[in-house]
């Protein structure tokens, strides 16, 4: 039995070096050479400054921008480190609401969001993804239905014809891979950047 002690120690050390250092560091080297943009987080720069990552959603509160999905991410409370405070789209602490389907908190939160959205666009049904938090709290995308729902508000706020904004949304819809895998969606950050480029107020 004691004979097996030496291989146990040597193997874990060797395999740690091989799979824990050589492998990830080599992959980092190759990835940085072949795909530097993706390997560094698909960052988007504007005027030399990083404004975000195309894969990571950000918080849009201004009415002139399309909004992403509700986000349940939190941050530590600066006043009391043992507590957390809501911090939507905190990309250093991903996570969901973890509210179960019969949670009173969940239904009340949705109720509040529904009320605000009905005032904004009373004519269309409210898409479910616009009132439910994403799993990561960093979902960069919304469904086409959720983007189209916001067109009247954004158009009014920007002083643009609704049709122009609607066309912009349609142009930004990404379909399923090969028409089969995944779901159609709209990247909110890219849509808003295109919106800024469109002009208006």
């Amino acid at each position: 039995m004691l004979k097996e002690v030496r291989p146990a120690i040597v193997m874990i050390v060797c395999l740690t070096i091989l799979t824990g250092l050589v492998y990830p560091l080599a992959m980092t080297g190759i990835a940085q050479t072949l795909f530097p943009r993706q390997a560094n987080g698909s960052l988007i720069e504007k005027g030399g400054k990083v404004i975000g990552s195309e894969l990571i959603g950000q918080n849009f509160a201004k009415p002139g921008y399309f909004r992403g999905r509700p986000s349940a991410t939190t941050d530590t409370d600066p006043k009391d480190p043992s507590k957390t405070i809501p911090a939507p789209y905190n990309a250093a602490n991903s996570g969901g609401s973890n509210a179960g389907p019969t949670s009173k908190t969940l239904i009340e939160r949705v109720q509040g969001d529904v009320k605000a959205l009905k005032e904004e666009n009373p004519n269309a049904p409210i898409p479910v993804d616009l009132v439910t938090t994403s799993a990561s709290g960093l979902d960069p995308e919304i469904s086409p239905a959720a983007a189209l729902f916001q067109v009247p508000r954004v158009a009014k706020e920007r002083g643009l014809p609704e049709q122009r904004v609607r066309d912009l949304v349609t142009a930004n819809i990404e379909g399923r891979f090969l028409g089969v895998i995944g779901e159609p969606r709209v990247n909110v950050l890219k849509l808003n950047m295109a919106l800024d480029a469109l002009g208006g107020r």
């Binding site: 291989p7 395999l15 799979t19 990309a91 973890n98 019969t102 439910t132 469904s143």
Partner: protein, 575 residues
């Protein structure tokens, strides 16, 4: 439910079945010690490892030595990982300046990754340095998977060999699995993942100024290299807190599809390895058929439940119907790019196997949608299962099935020419009974002590489901969670830590004993009275035994959680 959704599920199933044979053939050659197309590169490295560790690769170990070698290796890995976490503050590759991990959490995490569970009581991006993520957690993603596969191969040798005293050499199986199976696939797929948008860097977190002018700190790291082995080795421990729901950890539907294939690939291929090694590939297909039947049942239930959505939300005037413009259904805790079908599929796949990666928050699934992962794990994760662990778990049920069939006709049961006697049946039952003992035992304790009751975030039956899910996931070495549970406490870190240990090692030891006992037996030639174990009758019998022996044990507990909540939800009751 949509046609496209079902089509995606069918496409996934087809890919798994098509992969089983070629990958199974390759793995059979690897574990027989034959030359493969990678030997020119890897054989010299393999030899160096044996020389440094003093292993004679021709030594055949008996079951006790094999088990001791496996346990010592895991102990060494456990201690190293524990120490690395405690000292991470003074070790390199720590640009985010993470401080030492506290004892209870370090114990839980070390146990979690050693046992292939990857339960995470912590938020990775605010807790672990890049060094621990790479040289600690990634390493265990490789070696805990290789340990599982080695054990499955040892059990298969028990069936395949006759009058033999040995069941192989643990060090050789471990090394060959890591070098020839896990490593090459990881290298190729990691690059694919980076190409598709996964970060792979050692930079500090990026500080961005958003379009609206706010500050956003974006966590980074060597994600892709860890991600691929996390799936391939059915580990499931996320680089980020949101796991495969995080856009960096699963940027699009293609990476999602590939991740699911990785979870099932080795487990499904092992059924073919089993068939080949016992000399009849149909034996392997029969096992895969049992797995396939239970898989489809799970995915259909989850897909139906999640598509139907939450009636309480629909009642508020929200549109939950699927259309060309939205996925609809229950989108709380789900990502837009995956929608309902890809999420329901992922939920089922990750808990059929012992992966535990999640692309949605399981806590926010509908009651019956959440029942599926819980039930999958409680059956012992034998539906394809964790790499290795799934196959040996399933073979234990096969042993019980031939025993039951033997009782019905009054004949000594045989499986693959080996007489199944009292010792094997006792050991198989022991391994199977350990799961409910830990799952139901710990859940019962947690629902009566204050430290346990402090955990759940949700009230009512869902709170009970959170506790039941935690011990189910820990014992079954899955690692997914109803994550509302505040599990980073002394009580939960310790009890779940022990549940993971019990579920892994107390199941393995009786299983290795069976392997040793079977290997020593002669092969009884098949006769007219032999029950064929490669046909539909056997498949049906095993499914029945799994559902009755494995499933019914949990019915009362499940009735208190998901079932009560289902009726409450449809009746309009909130908690």
């Amino acid at each position: 439910m949509t046609f496209n959704g079902w089509f995606q599920i069918a496409l996934f199933s087809a890919v798994i079945v098509l992969l089983a044979r070629p990958l199974g053939g390759y793995m059979t050659r690897v574990f027989a010690g034959e030359r493969t197309f990678l030997s020119p590169v890897l054989r010299p490295l393999e030899r160096v490892l044996y020389r440094l560790s003093g292993v004679n690769e021709r030594t055949d170990q008996n079951w006790v030595t094999y088990a001791v070698a496996m346990l010592l290796f895991n102990l060494a890995g456990f201690l190293l990982l524990y120490a690395m976490q405690r000292f991470q503050a003074v070790l390199p590759f720590n640009p985010a300046g993470q401080s030492a991990v506290e004892e209870g959490l370090a114990f839980n995490t070390a146990m979690s990754f050693t046992t292939n569970t990857n339960w995470q009581s912590y938020v990775p991006e605010t807790t672990m340095s890049y060094l621990v993520q790479m040289a600690g957690l990634t390493v265990h993603n490789f070696v805990s998977a290789a340990t599982g596969v080695a054990l499955a191969i040892a059990l298969i040798r028990g069936f395949a060999r006759r009058s033999a005293s040995g069941i192989g050499n643990f060090w050789v199986d471990l090394t060959r699995c890591t070098l020839y199976v896990l490593m090459p696939i990881s290298v190729v797929v990691a690059l694919f993942f980076v190409w598709q948008g996964m970060p792979q860097n050692l930079s500090a977190y990026t500080e961005a100024t958003t379009l609206e002018g706010a500050k956003q700190v974006i966590a980074q790291g060597p994600v892709a290299s860890q991600e691929v082995i996390k799936m391939l080795g059915t580990n499931g421990g996320g680089f980020f807190n949101a796991n495969s729901a995080h856009p960096f950890e699963n940027p699009n539907a293609i990476t999602n599809f590939v991740q699911m294939v990785l979870i099932f690939a080795i487990g499904a291929a092992l059924t073919n390895v089993f068939g080949r090694m016992v000399g009849d590939q149909r034996q392997g297909w029969a096992v895969l058929a049992v797995m396939g039947f239970l898989f489809l049942g799970g995915v259909a239930t989850a897909y139906w439940a999640e598509s139907a959505g939450n009636p309480e939300i629909a009642a508020l005037g929200v549109d939950t119907a699927p259309s060309a413009l939205q996925a609809g259904g229950n989108m709380e805790g789900k990502e837009t790019r995956f929608g309902i079908a890809d999420t329901a599929l992922f939920v089922t796949v990750t808990t059929d196997a012992s992966c535990g990666a999640v692309n949605a928050m399981h806590d926010s699934l509908t009651p019956l949608g959440g029942l599926v992962p819980m039930f999958n794990m409680q059956l012992g994760e034998i539906i394809v299962g964790g790499v290795g662990a799934g196959l040996y778990g399933m073979l234990l049920f096969a042993i019980i099935s031939v025993f039951v069939a033997g009782l019905m006709v009054g004949r000594t049961p045989e499986y693959l020419g080996k007489k199944i006697e009292a010792k094997e049946v006792k050991m198989a039952m022991l391994a199977i009974l350990i799961l409910p003992l830990s799952i139901l035992g710990f859940s019962a304790i947690a629902t009566v002590v204050d430290a346990g009751l402090a955990g759940p975030a949700n009230a009512g039956p869902h709170g009970f489901s959170e506790i039941l899910y935690a011990y189910t996931s820990g014992t079954a070495n899955n690692g997914s969670a109803f994550a509302g549970l505040s599990a980073n406490t002394l009580f939960y870190n310790t009890t779940i830590g022990f549940a993971m240990f019990i579920g892994r090692f107390l199941m393995i030891v009786p299983m290795v004993a069976i392997a040793g006992s079977l290997a020593a037996k002669k092969i009884v030639p098949a006769s007219g009275g032999t029950f064929p174990t490669n046909g539909p009758l056997f498949v049906g019998l095993v499914i029945g035994v799994i559902l009755i022996v494995g499933g019914l044990t949990y019915f009362p507990a499940l009735a208190l959680g998901p079932f009560v909540e289902h009726f409450a939800m449809n009746g309009g009751t909130l908690f």
